[in-house]
Every structure is written in structure tokens, then in C-alpha cells.
């Protein structure tokens, strides 16, 4: 499938003091796909996403968003990006509509188009009934939706979601997942998670990192058919994941 590459990150490294949090990770995202960034807690998923969104700079490596170099031309690259961090960045003292209007204006949406942009994301995220509410008074699930609304209000080509379903109840998780599937029709999505069912439910391609290193990148199908001497013939996704992660952790440990 020769399609346009929207995110190209090459050889990313990131140190926190002596700790090598991300070690030579390269990520690519094609147009119209959902990439699952998978890994155990502390594997470097959030750090990688922060680098992709310009929140922190990589110690070395290069990032291109829709053909624009994020490190050299941050402003126009950021216009192509929508980002939902682990904790949704919401001003709890603002009302939903007021907050989204601020986000829209921050992302250079012309004044005349702000209202229609807001109405569109309110409908997309099922927030119409909540628009006058104070963000502080919303439930966790609705706050997460406002977080997603904030990330897509400027119709970015790339949406980056950091563990979008953490802390939600099963019904809310279903809703957010179907929202993500909807979004993937018009946007490309990178999604981080440590829940395997989520990957099965929404992702086209999987990128597994462990201890800061890439251990697997390919389609979900390939991952399911992954074979190794240590695995039983009909291994579950979970067994494969556990094996890959533990191998990665061993490798990472040997390098130190």
C-alpha cells in the first residue's frame, strides 16, 4: 500500500539525566491508518508522544509531520497535529464551549469559522448537551471527550492520543473506541495503550516498545501470526506481547 507518510520520526533518542528513556525509536504513520503504540508502563510511550508533539525535544533524531520538520519549523508542523496527553489538558474553570473556542483560536481557525468548527466537534464527540457545563463538573468520560474535541477542533491530519481510555468505565471505553474508529476515516491516528484488546479493536498497525526500544513494528495480522521457539503453536496475542516485551527488556538491560 504505497501511501503518503504523515509522520516520519527517525532514530529518536531521549535522555532524562542518565536514564535513556527512548533509545533509537523510529516511527512512521501512513495516511488514514491507526497506529497502536504499545508497551508496558514506563516503556517510553508517553515520552515518544511528547517528542512527536513538540512538548519535549529529542536528544537526537528527526521528526517530520506531514512533510514539515517539527524541530526546525515547529509552528506549521504543530498546525497539523492534535494531541491528547495522558491527563486531558482542560481548564476546569471554563465552560466547554468557551474552552473549545479558546483552543480553536489558538489553532488559527478564522473567527468566522470558529462556531461551525465547535459545533462540528461537539457533535462528533457527543458533547452537545454538555456545552454550557463547567468542565470541572463533567464526569471523567466527558472530560476525556472534551480532551479529544480539543485535539481535533482544527482538523489536524495527525491525531496523537496518549492512553485515551484509561480510567473510563467499560461503556465509555466502547464509546471512545468507536469515536477513534470514526476519526480514522478522515485523520491518521497514533494511539498509545497497554491494553491489548484496544489494539485489536481499533489499530491497523502495531508498534511495540519495551525499555525504550522498538521490539516489533508491523500489521496486527503479522503480530498474531508471530512465531518463536519459546511460543506454543497457537499463542494468544497476550503471550506474544509478553514474550516480545520481556525480550526487549533483556536487550535493553544488556546495553546499559
Amino acid at each position: 500500500m504505497p501511501s503518503k507518510l504523515l509522520v516520519q520520526a527517525h532514530h529518536l533518542h531521549r535522555y532524562y539525566d542518565q536514564h535513556h528513556a527512548v533509545n533509537d525509536v523510529s516511527i512512521s504513520l501512513h495516511k488514514g491508518e491507526v497506529l497502536g503504540l504499545l508497551g508496558p508502563n514506563g516503556a517510553g510511550k508517553s515520552t515518544t508522544m511528547k517528542m512527536l508533539t513538540g512538548n519535549i525535544a529529542p536528544s537526537s533524531g528527526s521528526i517530520e509531520i506531514a512533510g514539515v520538520n517539527l524541530l526546525e519549523n515547529a509552528l506549521s508542523a504543530k498546525q497539523q497535529l492534535g494531541y491528547l496527553p495522558e491527563t486531558p489538558p482542560l481548564y476546569s474553570d471554563m465552560r466547554v464551549v468557551e474552552f473549545l473556542r479558546y483552543c480553536a483560536r489558538l489553532h488559527d481557525i478564522p473567527k468566522a469559522k470558529v462556531t461551525s468548527a465547535i459545533n462540528q466537534v461537539l457533535a462528533q464527540c457527543g458533547l452537545e448537551d454538555m456545552q454550557k457545563r463547567l468542565i470541572a463538573n463533567l464526569s471523567k468520560g466527558y472530560q476525556q471527550r472534551v480532551g479529544i474535541a480539543q485535539a481535533i477542533i482544527h482538523q489536524p491530519s495527525v491525531i496523537i492520543l496518549d492512553e485515551p481510555t484509561v480510567g473510563l468505565d467499560p461503556i465509555q471505553i466502547q464509546e471512545i473506541r468507536s469515536l477513534i474508529r470514526q476519526l480514522s476515516k478522515h485523520h491518521s491516528v497514533i494511539l498509545s495503550t497497554h491494553i491489548l484488546q484496544e489494539v485489536e479493536a481499533v489499530c491497523d498497525r502495531v508498534h511495540i516498545i519495551s525499555a525504550g526500544k522498538t521490539v516489533f513494528v508491523d500489521t496486527l495480522e503479522t503480530l498474531k501470526n508471530y512465531s518463536d521457539d519459546d511460543l506454543p503453536a497457537s499463542a494468544s496475542l497476550e503471550q506474544i506481547f509478553t514474550l516480545l516485551v520481556s525480550q526487549g527488556a533483556l536487550q535493553g538491560g544488556a546495553d546499559e
Binding site: 508533539t53 519535549i56 504543530k78 497535529l81 495522558e86 491527563t87 489538558p89 483560536r105 489558538l106
Partner: protein, 253 residues
């Protein structure tokens, strides 16, 4: 420019979403009104009667007006840190800073926006403080020029407090620590002035460095370009430091 005013205006409005700005304005006005009453009472009962018939005597502007501005400056030593701690420390604590950093804005626009938002509140505070001396015009003639320079001086002084507070707020993710450290820093400049003027270790340099010493010429009715430039430099210095600090943090230095 657009982004700066957008951030500034939103920050200003957000101040009034919580009771914080309302209570600060109310308490400030209440305390200063009491001071104003005391000063005015002192003037009417004491100085005014003594001064009758003498050629050189203090007028109401000397006694009441300039002192109310001085007191406003002193009280704001405590108030400004509470306002500036929100700028970055609280955003970091609530993890909302990512919203602004992921948006297509520069750190310069971000810092200037935050600063502008607080400056709007300061304009409001200066205006409210100025209402008290201006109310005297009902009963007597006033030195309006001196009121104008005092108001300008208070604005510049509070602007410099704010810039310093924003910088300290950018250093930490604990709002309380930011507030206390800012208060400490502002107080240090007062101590600098006190040590500069003390009888044993008087030093012109210390007096010059202190932000409060440059305020007195304004309340005396003088517009001294040296003092204006001092405040502008002080403010710009801390804003530039803030921008650099945010950028360094992104780089992980």
C-alpha cells in the same frame, strides 16, 4: 500579536472565573480604604490645622495621595505572588501546559500573553486605587499631575513584580513554592533598599538595585527617565529569562 492578546484576554477572564481575583480586589480595596481614612483623618485633625498661616506646609497630596500609592505597592508584595503562581506552576501541576505548548504558538507569545493577562488586572487595580485620591476632588483641589505619575509608577512597579513572579512560576511545578519564592525575591529587594539606606552600611548601589527606591520619585510627582528605564529593564529581563527557561525545559537541559 493576535495570539498574545488572545492568551492575555483568556487569562484575564479566567482570573474572574474563580473567586480569587474578586476576593483580592475586594480585600485590597477594603484595606486601602481603611488606610486612606486613617491618613485623611490624620491630615484633617493634625497637619491641616498646624499649617494654617504658614508659607511652607504639606498639602493633602503629599500626606494622603502619595502614601496611599506607597501602601498599595507594599501590599502588592504579597498579592502579586498569589497571582503569578498560577501562570506556569499551576498549569504544570494541573498538566494543562501541554495544551499551550502543543498549539502553534511560540514561547515568546505564550509568556507575553500570560504577562498581558496579569497586566490587565494590574491596570484595574491601579484604577481602583486611584479612585480614592480622586474622590478628594469633591472637597479640595488636587495635584492631578502627581496622581498621574504615582499611578504610572505603581503600574510599572507592579509590572516588574509580575515579571519576576512569572519567571519564578516557570521554575517549579508547585504553585505554593512559586508564590513563597516570589514573595521572598520581592522582599529581598526591599531588604536591599533598607540595607542601602541604613546609617552604618549605606550604599548607593543597593539603593539603585532595589525596585522600591525607583518608585519614590513617581510618588513625589517626578517622571524620571532613569526610573522608567529601570522598570522596563527589570521586566524585560525576567520575561526573557522565562522564555529561555521554558525552552530549556523542552530541551531537557
Amino acid at each position: 500579536m493576535n495570539k498574545i492578546s488572545l492568551i492575555g484576554w483568556t487569562e484575564f477572564k479566567r482570573l474572574f472565573n474563580s473567586p480569587l481575583a474578586w476576593s483580592i480586589l475586594a480585600i485590597l480595596q477594603f484595606i486601602l480604604a481603611l488606610m486612606f481614612l486613617l491618613l485623611l483623618d490624620g491630615f484633617i485633625v493634625g497637619i491641616q490645622n498646624e499649617g494654617v498661616g504658614k508659607e511652607l506646609s504639606l498639602g493633602v497630596t503629599d500626606v494622603v495621595v502619595s502614601r496611599i500609592y506607597l501602601w498599595a505597592g507594599v501590599i502588592m508584595l504579597v498579592v502579586i505572588p498569589i497571582l503569578t503562581m498560577r501562570s506556569f506552576a499551576e498549569e504544570r501541576m494541573n498538566k494543562t501546559l501541554a495544551l499551550l505548548i502543543s498549539s502553534p504558538i511560540t514561547f515568546t507569545q505564550l509568556v507575553l500573553g500570560k504577562f498581558t493577562g496579569l497586566l490587565m488586572l494590574i491596570v484595574l487595580i491601579v484604577a481602583m486605587v486611584s479612585l480614592m485620591p480622586l474622590s478628594l476632588s469633591l472637597g479640595t483641589s488636587l495635584d492631578y499631575g502627581r496622581i498621574a505619575t504615582s499611578a504610572l509608577g505603581l503600574f510599572l512597579l507592579l509590572g516588574s513584580f509580575t515579571a519576576a513572579g512569572i519567571y519564578i512560576s516557570s521554575l517549579t511545578s508547585q504553585a505554593m513554592i512559586a508564590a513563597i519564592s516570589t514573595f521572598g525575591l520581592l522582599l529581598l529587594f526591599i531588604v536591599l533598599y533598607m540595607s542601602g539606606t541604613s546609617s552604618t552600611s549605606a550604599s548607593e548601589l543597593f539603593i539603585y538595585l532595589s525596585h522600591i527606591s525607583h518608585f519614590f520619585s513617581f510618588t513625589d510627582g517626578m517622571l524620571n527617565s532613569r526610573d522608567i528605564i529601570y522598570y522596563l529593564l527589570f521586566t524585560v529581563l525576567f520575561l526573557v529569562l522565562t522564555i529561555r527557561r521554558l525552552d530549556n525545559q523542552r530541551l531537557g537541559a
